[in-house]
Amino acid sequence: MERELISKKDLLDQTGISYGQLYRWKRKQLIPEEWFIRKSTFTGQETFFPKDLILARIDKILNMKDDLSLDQVAGKLSPSLPDYEMRKCDLMKRNIVSNVVLQRFAGQDPDPTVYAFEMILYLYVIDSLLQAGDMSLEEGERLLAAMRDHFPNFEGKPCELIFLRKMGVSSFALVSVPSQVYFDSGVKIVARLSMTEAIERLKSKLI
């Protein structure tokens, strides 16, 4: 599960941005602190980034900054939960969460029910795990309960969802990032998904 990394020098070469821009974006929190990974190399200490994440992010910033100010871009990219609500029927119409999930987990709510961003996020996460074929519907219910109980505890701090199985028995864990978790040998990690990224993906879908 080790992520491919890119050094700062290669990143600047590849994207054509300058040190000044990179540091400015860091100051504006367009690039999260956790992505700056310090490693010692034979030339001394160097900074590395998760390659897929940083390239996608820089692409996004470069595209957005033509018509938005940096502060506006920061608002769009920040991991904090927006005050965004949506009606159930709109979720269905815009295909943000699939019908199956809505029926199963929110079947009893009438169509005009308004969901807060958190709830949409939970449904969205469940939906993406179901679509990947990693999880069954029953497990989805337990995941929903787990996220409802524990996700607000992170108070906007970055966290990760780990979905694991041992001997056919599944369980979920929400852990803060960065953290290291080790399991015994029988445990298989089915999915590991960053909630911060999920929030971002969902935001770009909604807004």
Binding site: Y19, Y23, R27, T43, G44, Q45
Partner: protein
């Protein structure tokens, strides 16, 4: 904090305060704030210490300030000694004296005449340091970085007990970098000028590099 009417806080002499939210804070003398302090404008003369976080749009200081929590400010100006035990995010710093930060310091503009010790990253769009004493920064990053030695410190160097007016850093990265009296492991930039009395391990530059004859650069790489 915009519409509500916030009270002012004025303290003279030796005093303590609990903290809280204020419009203007004026402190003359010695003051210990035991909690978080948030205000629009703050001016302090003397010794002040804040146990919690400090946030202010405008901060002017004469004397010594010790802040244990994180600092968020619009502008910080003044002279004396600043000690932050945590990270700080400031729009503009214009300070004369000694600045020490036990974390990262982020600022759009960082203008300092004096000495400093920053344990983390000093991240500034525009950075100008006039060296009057020893400066120790782990990492510096930004767009335009200028480090000069003040003329006075040459004379003061003869009697100065605090150490020579030098900047020591592990890494310095910027678009335009102008250094003098600096000891650094690696300097990376587009346009790099290494001035007098520098000792640099490695310079990586893109467009231009100029090295003063009294500077020592072990390795030069053009990328």
């Amino acid at each position: 904090m915009s519409e509500t009417v916030l009270p002012d806080l004025r303290l003279v002499g030796t005093s303590t305060a609990a903290g809280g939210r204020y419009n203007r804070v004026k402190i003359t003398g010695e003051c210990e704030v035991s909690g978080d302090l948030a205000c629009r404008k703050m001016s302090a003369m003397g010794n002040i210490s804040v146990e919690g976080t400090l946030s202010s749009d405008e901060l002017s200081l004469t004397g010594e300030a010790v802040i244990r929590g994180t600092v968020r400010a619009g502008t910080i100006r003044g002279r004396g000694e600043l000690r932050f035990a945590n990270a700080a995010r400031v729009d503009k710093v214009d300070f004369t004296g000694n600045v020490s930060v036990r974390g990262d310091l982020e600022a759009e503009r960082f203008l300092l005449s004096g000495a400093c010790s920053i344990d983390g990253l000093l991240n500034a769009d525009l950075l100008e340091i006039r060296l009057y004493g020893p400066c120790r920064v782990k990492e510096i990053g930004g767009e335009s970085l200028v480090v000069k030695r003040s003329r006075v410190s040459k004379l003061m160097g003869l009697v100065n007990a605090g150490g020579p007016a030098m900047l020591t850093a592990d890494v310095i990265e910027g678009d335009s970098v102008e250094l003098s009296n600096t000891e650094a492991g690696v300097v990376r930039g587009n346009r790099v000028v290494i001035g007098p009395d520098c000792a640099i391990g490695k310079v990586e530059y893109r467009t231009s590099l100029a090295v003063h004859k009294s500077a020592v650069v072990k390795e030069r790489v053009r990328i």
